[in-house]
């Protein structure tokens, strides 16, 4: 039953749209449902990055910590968005922390398992990379605009 639900959720998600059935089934085999309470960390900066997440509902903040200071929130992610791509890039460590701001349900995907499968099947690797590059590009553009401090007085 749980597998069916995950299959439906992932098959309908725009991130996985157009993926071959066999690849989708393989990815579903690496997926599990997770839930985070508000304030709970999904992952922490510096930890090994072995998963990524599709947020089903809720809100997650990506943040840096700084000793003696409030964490600096870089971005918040919401329903339907994909969280985490450090699992794809050696040496596979998280560069930010991710924390649930609201009760958050997500699908966690085993990146470590997918890395191995991508090495074995480069077509799968290419399909996943194409999708992640889009996300990386979006986040990069957003960060660049953020850096411009457009609404500042200067």
């Amino acid at each position: 039953m749980a597998i069916e639900t995950l299959e439906k959720l992932l098959a309908e998600h725009p991130f996985f749209k157009g993926l071959k059935k066999e690849y989708l089934e393989l990815i579903i085999g690496c997926a599990r449902n997770v839930f985070y309470k508000p304030g709970e960390f999904i992952f922490r900066e510096g930890e090994e990055a072995n998963e990524f997440y599709v947020i089903r509902d809720g809100k997650v903040s990506l943040e840096f910590s700084s000793p003696g200071k409030e964490p600096i929130v870089i971005q918040t992610l919401e329903d339907g968005e994909v969280l985490g791509w450090s699992w794809l890039v050696p040496p596979y460590y998280w560069h930010f922390s991710a924390r649930a701001v609201e009760p958050t349900r997500a699908i966690a995907l085993d990146g470590k398992c997918l890395r191995t499968k991508c090495e074995e099947d480069h077509n799968l690797g290419y399909e996943l990379l194409k999708r992640f590059v889009t996300i990386v590009e979006q986040r990069l553009q957003a960060t660049r605009i953020q850096l411009l401090d457009l609404y500042g007085s200067q």
């Binding site: 870089i74 971005q75 918040t76 329903d79 457009l150 609404y151």
Partner: protein, 286 residues
């Protein structure tokens, strides 16, 4: 909305001559932004404008600046402007108090095509003080809510302290027929809302891109990125409208200070369709 004969008379008679208005109220919106509510000194004069138009405001002895009208187009006894203190004139304007006089020329320019979008989804994207010129369109749309399908506001500010019209945004959020999403570039302690630039809200917003009209106002770079993101989502270039700003002086297309390629922003704009200006806004020489 039709322009009244009185208004036509005021503008056509001598558009270069400021009318005297008195400040009825002044509200500090954020640390550097304030709202003035002005009333004509001459009794019985109505100020009629269309959402998106601007006035030239004259601080006597200091100078004149173009400022968008930010109030309700149906409250014709007063005219409202939200201004940020950035230059000599706006800083002097910020020091004016209730009862002080100010010169007003206008209204000038084109307006948001609020009647073009009857039956479709309306997506309003504002960045920073760009919410001010969009507020009249919001009033107009909410007053005729049944004429539209979805109505969505995506608003980005620098920090939570820089959010304009906070109380009004809360009121809008409480409506079931108006979806409001606010994000800030930098969160502060206690902020539980979205963090990220306003363009990140576009993929999340629940509208039908094939049946959407978008009004965008903010810094020019923000508008460019927003337009591209809306196009990526599937909104037609012809249905994206942006409000440009250049060095508007005369307000009637005579002086040429606000020339923007083949058009004058004061007369042909400030509101343009993206398709009208897309070949200009990426040219750094213009």
């Amino acid at each position: 909305m039709e322009v009244s004969e009185r208004e036509i008379l005021v503008v056509e008679k001598n558009p270069m001559l400021p009318q005297i208005f008195q400040i009825r109220s002044r509200k500090q919106e954020t640390s550097d932004t304030f709202t003035l509510e002005l009333e004509p000194v001459e009794a019985g004069v109505e100020f009629i404008f269309k959402p998106g138009q601007f006035n030239m405001l004259y601080v006597f002895g200091v100078g004149e600046v173009p400022i968008s009208i930010s109030g309700d187009p149906e409250k014709v006894s007063r005219v409202t402007h939200t201004t940020r203190m950035v230059g000599t004139v706006t800083k002097a304007m910020g020091k004016l108090k209730k009862g002080d006089l100010i010169g007003v020329r206008g209204p000038f320019g084109s307006s948001w095509p609020v009647d073009k979008c009857s039956g479709c989804d309306v997506v309003i994207v504002a960045g920073g003080i760009g919410l001010a010129p969009l507020r009249p369109a919001i009033y107009y749309i909410l007053r005729r809510r049944e004429n539209y399908n979805k109505a969505i506001l995506l608003y980005g500010a620098r920090t939570p302290d820089d959010i304009l019209y906070k109380h009004e945004i809360e009121k809008w959020k409480s409506r079931f027929d108006f979806e409001v999403y606010v994000t800030v570039d930098r969160g502060t302690s206690g902020w539980k809302g979205n963090v990220g630039v306003v363009t990140t809200l576009i993929p999340r917003a629940p509208f039908d891109p094939q049946n959407t009209i978008a009004f965008v106002c903010g810094p020019e770079i923000m508008m460019r990125f927003t337009a591209l993101e809306l196009i990526k989502r599937g909104v037609s270039e012809n249905n994206i409208f942006i409000s440009m700003e250049r060095n508007m002086k005369c307000g009637i297309g005579l002086c040429g200070h606000c020339q923007f390629g083949p058009v004058f922003v004061c007369k042909d704009g400030p509101v343009f369709s993206y398709s009208q200006v897309k070949n200009l806004i990426f040219k750094r020489e213009i």
